[in-house]
Subunit: 454 residues, 2 copies
């Protein structure tokens, strides 16, 4: 166990990628390297009533991993071993600090993949993914993190090590505590190990990029894919504002104004000038056949459809998606929202987000996991307090929109601190009350990430 005292190292662990800052000073930052160390920290904290904020890579987008006044920040990123990969059972046993993409790479030689792929996969940890029940680009076909978690090792508030779930694919003995811990954002226990389901790497993939005059038409096209009973592995939607920002990024990168931007082609590849871009990937033995079916569905609605004929071309088609966030980060400080609506209301939601942007004058860039109805309206601020206030005003309207359309204020990022205000409205007082009672069962002294998630 290492106590972090270097002010820069402490400072870097005070917040997460949301940038939310409690203003308080953590009492200590601890780097745990083993389960007994985590147990020791919790036993002591529980005795003293010290809040414990667990963190992995700190890539969370809702403030759940941000330190608060007097807390111990428990950093488990050094517990990063892949303990076992069992190809015959298609599972892996890992520590919480394993980087998500590294697990996927480690599984690849066995022909296996770890399906959940949050956009942060190259940086985020498995523990954090489980704590937020992270989603990603392939959820519509392969499900979210919960569907990949077979079992967990969890240290409870009093330091007890609990094992829940199993190594089997199925099992219904007792209540689903594995599911309860998944997505609980560090408020019920500290995840110190996970048994994860792997899947075969798809035999093939096929990639399409379709441009549309506007986002409403693109959303209709995404709905038409569903209506045609096709199940792409990925269906990413980018609106005009995002495409323009990516285009500008490419342009500026080409001019050497900033470091690497989105690359790999001209305007027709990343969709600059289009009203919206829909990127679709199919996979499996019938990937090409399914892509052709998708193409037939998109063609009547799209202004253009391109299909990759090589892996390199597929990568260049995906460049706009990969380049989106870096491009927006060049424009200012992005606040990434995360609403989900019933899939059929995606177009309505995207249009309403654009209207909110127009009415409030706040720039909003929308990316969506179209097959999931999960929109990421990204609000870019200039970092000033006035800009932040305006952003939260717009965000509030976006959350209200999500609830009005029968959706949720968070599809995959979590509640953290930033969305707690809207939680009672979404869940109802009864449900929220039960959640607080469950919290007290696991954490009677309220030391685990207090003030977060529920």
């Amino acid at each position: 166990m290492t106590l972090v005292t270097d002010p820069v190292a402490v400072q870097s662990r005070r917040t997460d990628r949301s940038g939310w800052d409690s203003g308080g000073s953590p009492a200590a930052v601890v780097l745990a390297e083993s389960v007994p160390e985590v147990q020791a920290v919790l036993r002591e904290a529980n005795r003293d009533g010290t809040p414990v904020v667990t963190r992995g890579a700190g890539t969370g987008l809702a403030g759940a991993a941000a330190g608060t006044q007097g807390c111990v920040i428990l950093d488990v990123s050094r517990m990063n071993r892949i303990r076992e990969i069992v190809p015959a059972d298609e599972l892996a046993i890992v520590e919480p600090g394993v980087i998500t993409a590294e697990l996927d790479h480690a599984a690849a030689p066995y022909g296996l993949t770890y399906a959940p792929d949050p956009a942060s996969a190259a940086m985020s940890t498995i523990g954090g993914n489980i704590a937020t029940n992270a989603g990603g680009l392939r959820c519509a076909k392969y499900g979210v993190t919960r569907q990949a978690v077979l079992g967990l090792d969890v240290v409870l508030a009093d330091g007890t090590l609990l094992k829940v779930g199993r190594r089997t694919v199925k099992g219904v003995a007792g209540y689903d505590l594995t599911g309860l811990f998944t997505g609980s954002e560090g408020t019920l226990g500290v995840i110190v190990g996970a048994t994860l389901r792997l899947r075969p790497i798809p035999a093939a993939t096929a990639t399409l990029a379709a441009c549309f005059d506007d986002i409403a038409t693109a959303a209709r096209a995404a709905a038409a894919i569903t209506a045609a009973h096709l199940t792409p592995a990925m269906a990413e939607l980018l609106d005009r504002a995002t495409l323009d920002a990516v285009g500008m990024g490419v342009h500026r990168a080409a001019l050497g104004v900033h470091g690497a931007g989105a690359s790999g082609g001209g305007g027709d590849v990343y969709g600059a000038g289009a009203g919206a871009l829909l990127l679709v990937q199919t996979d499996g033995l019938a990937a090409e056949q399914e892509a052709s079916a998708v193409e037939r569905v998109l063609a009547p609605l799209a202004s253009s459809v391109r299909r990759a004929s090589t892996a390199a071309e597929a990568e260049s088609l995906l460049a706009a998606r990969r380049g989106a966030l870096p491009s927006l980060e060049r424009l200012g400080r992005p606040l990434i929202e995360d609403i989900a609506v019933p899939r059929s209301r995606l177009g309505e939601a995207a249009d309403a987000v654009a209207a909110i942007s127009a009415e409030t004058g706040v720039p909003v860039f929308t990316i969506a996991h179209a097959a999931d109805g999960n929109l990421h309206p990204i609000i870019v601020t200039d970092g000033s307090p006035a800009s932040a206030d305006a952003a939260w005003e717009a965000a509030g309207r976006i959350f209200a929109l999500a609830l009005r359309l029968g959706g949720t204020v968070t599809g995959e990022h979590g509640i953290g601190v930033l969305k707690r205000r809207w939680l009672a409205e979404e869940l109802g007082i009864e449900s929220l009350g039960l959640q607080h009672k469950i919290k007290r069962v696991f954490d009677p002294n309220g030391i685990l990430n207090p003030g977060k998630a529920i």
Copy 2:
């Protein structure tokens, strides 16, 4: 609300398909027809401390729906409306008494299917499926009931109506109460509505039947399918004893000794005389291609492989599986066990079950969902107390085996009353203690199906 007083009707609701009988006399049997009626029953029961045992079709196999002394049996089977099918969102909103297969039939005209397909689908209800987190034949590819449940309406012990989950595919606001209720066997609340995910009907299916000299070889073949990174929709394994029973059923049916038996072909179809039969179904656009790949994997290990060329032939290949339980019911009273082991240990488990049968002299017939590692060793008794005792002795050894192999005592049927003895051993005292505390959060007076599930 109807109070059932007819002794035959009361008697028929005192137990479930496990046949377990508490010996006690229920105080009343109530047929509820609406949510307010369920609320009224619970409010009153909660005030009086009366146990409430909820039931749908009574097809449970672990005694969870069996009535106990002084309880109210709350039958929700008349709450059986499909309220909404929303093709654009691929979801259905249903009451708990809807028969599982009927939902699937209702979705079919929209090109959609309800994927969970417990063998009881033609009789069991959605509410019961959710209460046990039922599995079925297509789980390896499509997941268990939990993966199909987006949201629930639940009446709590005090009569409060709670809504959990959502209509969106994704959502991570708050703890996963939907998952907590799923599989809780009526001990946390009464499910009065469900929002369920539908999926496109696969574009095609292909069916194979492979015979093997013994079950160990068949299990190796199933493992080889996994190792080849193929994901069949179904992989059902039947052992020699079961095949002989099915064969006898066909023979006796042909002689008119009993009603309809397994039908549709001669010995080569249902596998009579073989040491084991593996039935594999692939589906999707590449169903035929995937079936060919499966065939190539099976051929070196199998004594024969047959592939259906028509739907009728596929049905006749599946006849052995469909005929298994009816055939065993002709031999005596089947006690259907339900262990799951890590997939790689399927063959070891099947061999050990056969050894337990040989050692104890208790006839055990094994069917398995091979791709899930989920075995159903079926013990057939003659109904006498001595035979039942011997059956439970063998079952106890089978449960110990499952735990020794890193598995579970119940893959998909639930704990009910019949497996409670083994629960602490599987879950550990800590985990079980937490479950009891969670139970008290939801049901402080302990009226909901006391003595069951945990």
